[in-house]
Amino acid sequence: MAPGALFALFSFLWLLGWTPPERYLTRVTAVVYLLSSVIVAGLTWSLYASGETAITISLGDWFVVHNYHFPLELMADRLSLPFLALTVILVGLIGQFSATYLHQDPGFERFYILLHLFAFGALVVFAAGSFDLIIVGWEMVGLTSVLLISFFNYRRGPVENALHVFVVYRACDIGLITAAYLLHHFAETSSFVNGMPHLTDGHASLVGLFLLLAAAGKSAQVPFCGWLPRAMEGPTPSSAIFYGALSIHAGAYLLLRSQSILLASTTASVAVIAIGTLTAIHSTFVGRTCADAKTSLACASLAQLGVVFVEIGLGFTWLPVLHILGHAMVRTLQFLRAPSMLHDYHQVHAASGGHLEKTGRHYDYYLPEPVRIWLYRMAMDRGHLDTLLENVFIQPLLQLSRGLARLDRIGLTKSEGAANVPPTIHTTLRADEGVRNG
């Protein structure tokens, strides 16, 4: 609750016109996440000492209507505790790192407010005792991710990429919402505090595939992986915590949480393995053609995520958790060091006496040249996946929308249509420019 309270407090004060000094923001952040880390350590100890499988806290129902109720149940078990610990530790560290990195940046306060909202959302996802509650945190994580991608909003690129990511997130969130509804429909609950609801094979396949859609969107798996390189437009600390550590692994956490449903359905398990495998191969190829450090790291993250998905689909539990923890820590460090990469290279170069071995020669050099060229082109265009989604979904939707607009204009004469449109900001700007240009 503490990150959520911080977010609400700082936002409200800002709306009323007060901006806290940088030092105050960073110190409060440090204290809160230090205390949160202690609390998570205490939870871990009490779980270990009691020998129980989970500690649950029921805060009652959020709202109740007839037979439907929205339970506010929090749960800390052996799956969620590592993720909770990862969240509070990494957010605390990123908070300290950003104090220097974003010093005197105009968006300093905005970054911290969004960081707290993200931490709150991530903690809700990892501590939720029902899929209904996971949706709450899930959407908060998505929203903060998008707002941080457009952090440098004076440039067109970050804003356009944020919109792209937002569309992918919202489209894939339909999977989670529908899966939660289907669980209510089939099992009359979406709570997993007392174990995952039992479903028949067919129901498990349906729910599992919808969950996979949500997880694939959040974890940038094939065919949705095009958004991750675009998300690198945000400030480096947010890239580290979102796409190196927490947000990107939320999809894997969702699949781990619902693993019993996935394993009850061969279709869902095979789909998870297939998507993971495709993502690992795809991002390995794409990563080799990336020209900047952050995008290379994003592709490397994707490759590891693909392997994690395969592990989950094969039924492993602890292996993917350990894989995620290790990967998140290493990748966060790499992201945070990315701006200093040239400096690091020069240091290593100097330390080795100026005799660094050349890298970059891989097994693909054994392939015939036409195949290599074809692979290179495909990797440069990120597997044509963005083009595919654009051609299959976006363009037809835009054409349909324009067609419906024409339908709506039926009955309006040309003069009525023109009279209906007051002068817009752009016609004014053009007119102003015309006057200035003489």
Binding site: F63, R156, L397, S401, A419, P422
Partner: protein, 488 residues
């Protein structure tokens, strides 16, 4: 039936009418008259809500009012909500939107809408319905011909339906043919009256194919009063107040079609908004899409769906009032309307207005932490439970609405500001206080929604009771379909 302690509904209607007369005659004090009129209506409505809550499920009649008005769990919240919305809009409206003509018409609209909410009599309801549409049909909110035509058809259909119902009740020997309370379960007027009522609802709410007038009205008219007009949601109210009580079994049989039409409208408007570039039209389409979800929820015949719809009315009204207000304030600051063709970067100069815009917008599309999340959750559960295949359209439409809204936000507030925009001011204190109240309400009610949901559950329960125990069943031919739907 118990009585209210004072003719509070008549007072809530009368005070804005007097204030409207003052505003029309005293141009320089129009805003003050508007604030006093709306504040008076708000106080009366708040007292009504308190008395209705204390009476637990009872309908409260007005003393000395000849059975014209009544208050219950369904309309008490709407009375307060609409009065508050009008008060907020009058307070924050830019000076050029507070002329005697516009303020007087806005107060007239408030009085007519409150009369429709409070009506316990078909004649009063019909008259209020027509009077509330007058500012758009004749003056001063008139745009192109489509708003006038749509609303004229809606008024005509309702008046004819009321005539048929009254005649049918009189020939059936009903002693109170005008009373809404005596309608319950009698199927007065038969399928002709039912069809006309549905036409009135479809035209008023802008359900496909009668949807285009809402876009035209939002684009060409003064946007704040038009927003208030749309947020009256009298179409949904007529459904709950007249159609379901008079035709419980017929409506259950016919609702799948109407509900599908509403969901189709939600999707249609969402798709239309995707490529639309004019800011006012985008917002109008979003309101249209989300308002159609309200109708779909009411017609789901499930308690979750009906409660979700009643809560969603609050969300849509408050959020769209915030969105249109911010847009209007920006238009006035720059002197022109906006299109979403380029990134304007207005957030650099108006960061608080940008935050108000995005919070209201995200509440409209159901972001967690806002009241919109609760209403969307209930709506989705309700519509999916009543018709699963078509109900899947609702989350799809909501997702597209969210994308359109974020696109509009990005185009207006993000990007690099151009040089000619220097000198734009952020929210003024009176604007800031009203918009902060809206945001605080949306978020506080979203974090602790149980009070509002419970308040609306009582009304939803009263509506669903009408289906579960119709007095008579002259429409027995619809009974099998109705039973099938109720068993869900």
């Amino acid at each position: 039936m118990a009585d209210l302690s004072f003719p509070l509904i008549s007072a809530a209607v009368g005070i804005p009418l007097i204030a409207a007369a003052v505003a029309f005659t005293w141009d320089t004090r129009a805003r003050l008259a508007g604030i006093l009129g709306a504040a008076g209506a708000t106080l009366c409505s708040a007292k009504i809500l308190l008395e209705v809550n204390a009476a637990v499920g009872q309908r409260l009649a007005e003393p000395w009012a000849f059975g014209l008005f009544t208050a219950d769990s369904l309309n008490a919240t709407f009375l307060l909500l609409y009065s508050l919305l009008t008060l907020g809009v009058v307070v924050l409206a830019p000076r050029r939107d507070t002329s005697a003509r516009i303020t007087g018409a806005t107060l007239f609209l408030l009085a007519a809408t409150l009369s429709a909410y409070g009506a316990d009599n078909l004649i009063v309801l019909g008259a209020a319905w027509v009077l509330s549409a007058l500012p758009l049909i004749v003056a001063p909110f008139t745009g192109t011909w489509r708003p006038r035509a749509g609303l004229a058809v809606s008024c005509l259909a309702l008046l004819v339906a009321i005539g048929i119902i009254v005649q049918s009740a009189q020939s059936g020997g009903d002693l109170e043919p005008f009373s809404l309370a005596s309608l319950q379960g009698h199927n007065y007027g038969g399928s002709a009256a039912f069809a006309l009522l549905l036409i009135a609802i479809v035209c008023r709410k802008g359900i496909f194919p009668a949807h285009a007038w809402i876009e035209d009205a939002a684009e060409a008219g003064p946007v704040l009063p038009v927003c208030l007009f749309i947020n009256g949601h009298l179409g949904g109210f007529l459904l709950a107040r007249v159609v379901i009580p008079d035709f419980p079994l017929v409506s259950l049989g016919a609702f799948p079609i109407l509900s599908d039409l509403a969901l189709l409208t939600a999707l249609y408007a969402a798709i239309r908004a995707v490529a639309e570039t004019r800011a006012r039209r985008i917002l109008a389409l979003l309101v249209l899409s989300q308002s159609a979800c309200i109708l779909a929820g009411l017609e789901s015949a499930t308690q979750e769906g009906i409660t979700g719809a009643l809560v969603h009315i609050i969300v849509v009204s408050v959020a769209t009032a915030g969105l249109f207000s911010v847009l209007r304030l920006m238009e006035v600051r720059f002197g022109r309307t906006f299109t979403a063709d380029h990134y304007l970067g207005l957030g650099e100069y108006t960061p608080r207005l940008a935050v108000f815009f995005v919070v209201c917008g995200l509440a409209l599309v159901g972001l967690p932490g806002t009241l919109g999340f609760c209403s969307e959750d209930l709506l989705i559960h309700g519509t999916l439970a009543s018709h699963p295949q078509i109900g899947l359209l609702l989350p799809v439409a909501t997702a597209m609405n969210a994308a359109s809204l974020f696109r509009l936000f990005s185009k207006l507030f993000l990007g690099k500001a151009r040089g000619t925009m220097q000198g734009i001011t952020d929210a003024l204190p009176r604007e800031r206080w009203v918009l902060t109240s809206i945001v605080v309400f949306i978020v506080a009610a979203g974090l602790m929604p149980s009070r509002i949901v419970t308040l609306r559950t009582n009304a939803a329960h009263a509506i669903s009771q009408l289906w579960e125990s119709p007095k008579t069943s002259p429409s027995a031919q619809y009974a099998p379909a109705a039973e099938t739907r109720l068993s869900r």
